[in-house]
């Protein structure tokens, strides 16, 4: 078995900003600014960060829904950049997406059976009768009833719609699923139902998940490894246990301590991070986090720290843990 199912190498995605002035001052949004990672088959790979950090963009790049400005993505050993339209279409059968908003992810004018069946139709799989059977199977797998296939999305609750989204994603028997904030729009009790469902499906079908979320508790619960993003760059990647017990990067520490804990008597030694997240159009030089970092050193504003493995399978981009390449004071 291949040690990695998906690998990203120095991914970059820049978007031009529409300027109303002269073209000389063309600015770019550096949504993803040099990310490398590898996802192991069968794992749940968590990607956390706050709004504007680029995690959703990174997700889209990993599945090659958008082409990177630079860098490469490998699915098993194939460079997705070399895939033509036909091969990319074939790749879509292997990697699917579950979305954040169950209300806009389903066509309101399409009955849910047809929604779930559509991927099969697009890839010309099976006869009409076989597809209908598969739709019934999938509905049951996600905890709905096959006789609901003729209903329309508005007849279902948010949690049920998310199950339909999941059923559609499973229709092609993918190996990899990108879950982009799959439970963020759901109520707490429904979140728990969907999280359990996702775990069951993973075990049953041997899936690999890339799980994007801003909710650290959910990520801690379901993910095997956690990667933290800040302004388009990865700042830390570690096994879940080690990450939650002892985060290394100052931003990761702040994130973990900022998340409210459901214990009124918990110690209040919270690290409140000052300032706002800067804009990805003009990120600070060097380490993008240095203006808000309580442990910053002079070198942090000069040279960008590399994302390095400082312990086995523990990566950080911070000079607290290794020396910069050129000694500048």
């Amino acid at each position: 078995m291949n040690p990695t199912i998906l690998r990203a190498q120095d991914l970059v995605k820049h978007y031009p900003v529409k300027t109303t002035g002269s073209a000389r001052h063309r600015q770019v949004v550096k949504a993803v600014d040099g990310v490398s990672l590898a996802v192991k088959p069968g794992e749940v790979f968590g990607l956390v960060g706050e709004s504007g950090c680029g995690k959703s963009t990174l997700g889209r790049l990993l599945l090659y829904i958008e082409k990177p400005t630079a860098g490469r993505v490998f699915f098993e050993d194939d460079d997705l950049g070399n895939f033509d339209r036909r091969l990319l279409k074939r790749f879509r059968r292997e990697a699917q997406i579950i979305y954040q908003d169950p209300y806009s992810a389903l066509n309101p004018r399409q009955p849910v059976g047809s929604i779930i069946e559509e991927p099969l139709v697009i890839h010309a799989i099976g006869t009409a009768a076989e597809r209908r059977k598969r739709v019934a199977e999938l509905l049951q797998v996600v905890g709905l009833r096959p006789d609901q296939a003729a209903r329309y999305p508005h007849e279902f609750s948010g949690g049920q719609r998310q199950r339909i989204v999941i059923a559609r994603a499973l229709a092609l028997n993918p190996r990899l699923i990108l879950a982009d904030e799959p439970v963020s729009a759901l109520d707490v009790s429904i979140q728990a139902q969907v999280i359990n469902l996702l775990e069951e499906l993973k075990d049953r079908f041997g899936l690999t998940y890339i799980f994007i979320s801003h909710d650290l508790s959910v990520v801690e619960h379901i993910c095997d490894r956690v990667a933290v993003m800040y302004l388009g760059r990865l700042v830390e990647l570690a096994d879940r246990h080690f990450f939650y017990q002892k985060p290394l990067h100052p931003y990761a520490k702040a994130l973990l301590s900022a998340a409210p804990v459901t214990d009124p008597h918990a110690g209040r030694n919270r690290q409140i991070l000052g300032g706002d997240v800067p804009s990805p159009i003009n990120p600070p030089p060097g380490c993008t986090f240095h203006p808000r970092c309580p442990r910053r050193m002079p070198v942090c504003s000069k040279e960008r720290p590399r994302f390095q493995e400082v312990e086995p399978d523990r990566w950080v981009a911070c000079y607290l843990y290794f020396k910069p390449t050129a000694w500048c004071e």
Partner: protein, 322 residues
């Protein structure tokens, strides 16, 4: 112990919909004491926002109406107050902040203008003095460089800043009660921490009472002294915050806690509450939670009584969890 500053008893609010009348708030009783934060917790559709809107009489007309109960603010019933008098209370004595700061702020006016507008509505001040006050409020809520920011427009500010502006507007007339409806839900975690910290500090400095509406139990743990849990328009449990988190008694509250992934825990499978919230048009008789409850029986088809669980701790249940 001083009298509660806000005393809601048996409040009932109905909406007229095409499919019939819906009771969004069903005989809700709550008290908010001075300098205290009451958390109102529940999932979407439970009626917590409608409760807040009812207090401020901001229900959409003609569909929404308060059909019963009373709301005593400093001893005076404000349900039957004429609109002109209510307007003097709104924003002045009782103010409110909402979830989405972008849609609560008018995009075509500067934030300073909007704060000044709020100030001059209720306090006698000339424009110059009001502007100074607005700058002072912005600095109070932790906005850096307030002299410059006061002329900014909402779109020039980040989400966290906008929410601070909302808080500044709400505080500008020194209200005695602030109602905050999901004030940090739309914000990033690190910004949420800043705002919650700010709200706690301000409350301590000003001595203001607060009703905090949220679905996030973590936020409740960080900010509230007392908590009430709502389900389908009814309060199902009420307690001091420590009591509620360590000894939840109503099966719904218990279910909510079991649904939360725990931090620093072993990977236990979550135990979600089965089923979904019933439609307000088709509630079962008696306890509305019975069809999803692991402790329900035939007796639950009758309206459950308030069971005393401990000091200041009540649950509306026939079979509260020990």
């Amino acid at each position: 112990m001083s009298a509660p500053i806000l005393d809601i008893s048996e409040l009932t609010t109905c909406f007229a919909t095409r499919r019939g009348p819906v009771t969004a708030v069903d005989r809700v009783s709550l008290t908010v004491n001075p300098a205290e934060t009451l958390g109102l917790v529940g999932e979407s559709g439970c009626g917590k926002s409608v409760t807040a809107l009812s207090v401020l009489r901001l229900l959409p007309k003609p569909a929404g109406r308060i059909t019963g109960g009373q709301i005593l603010f400093k001893g005076r019933d404000i349900v039957s107050l004429p609109e002109a008098k209510m307007r003097r209370i709104r924003g002045n004595d009782i103010s409110m902040i909402f979830q989405e700061p972008m849609t609560s702020l008018n995009p075509v006016y500067s934030v300073g203008f909007q704060i000044v507008e709020a100030i001059r509505r209720h306090r006698r001040m000339n424009r110059h003095a009001a502007r100074q006050e607005a700058v002072r409020m912005l600095s109070l809520v932790g906005i850096p460089d307030p002299e410059a920011r006061v002329d900014d427009y909402p779109h020039q500010l980040s989400g966290g800043m906008r929410q601070r502006v909302m808080i500044a507007m709400a505080l500008s007339c020194h209200p005695q009660v602030m109602i905050a409806d999901e004030p940090t839900t739309a914000l990033d975690v690190t910004i949420q921490a800043q705002i919650l910290d700010l709200m706690n500090r301000l409350k301590a400095e000003i001595g203001m009472a607060m009703m905090l509406i949220t679905h996030d139990l973590g936020v409740v743990a960080e900010t509230c002294q007392r908590v009430a849990v709502m389900y389908t328009g009814r309060i199902v449990e009420e307690a001091d915050v420590g009591e509620l988190f360590h000894k939840p008694a109503h099966p719904y509250t218990v279910g909510l806690f079991y649904s939360l992934p725990k931090r620093g825990g072993q990977r236990e499978k979550l135990k979600p509450i089965p089923g979904t919230v019933p439609s307000l048009l088709r509630l079962p008789p008696g306890c509305s939670f019975q069809d999803r409850c692991f402790r329900s029986d035939d007796q639950c088809r009758q309206d459950p009584p308030w069971a005393k669980i401990g000091l200041g701790h009540w649950a509306r249940c026939w079979h509260p969890v020990e």
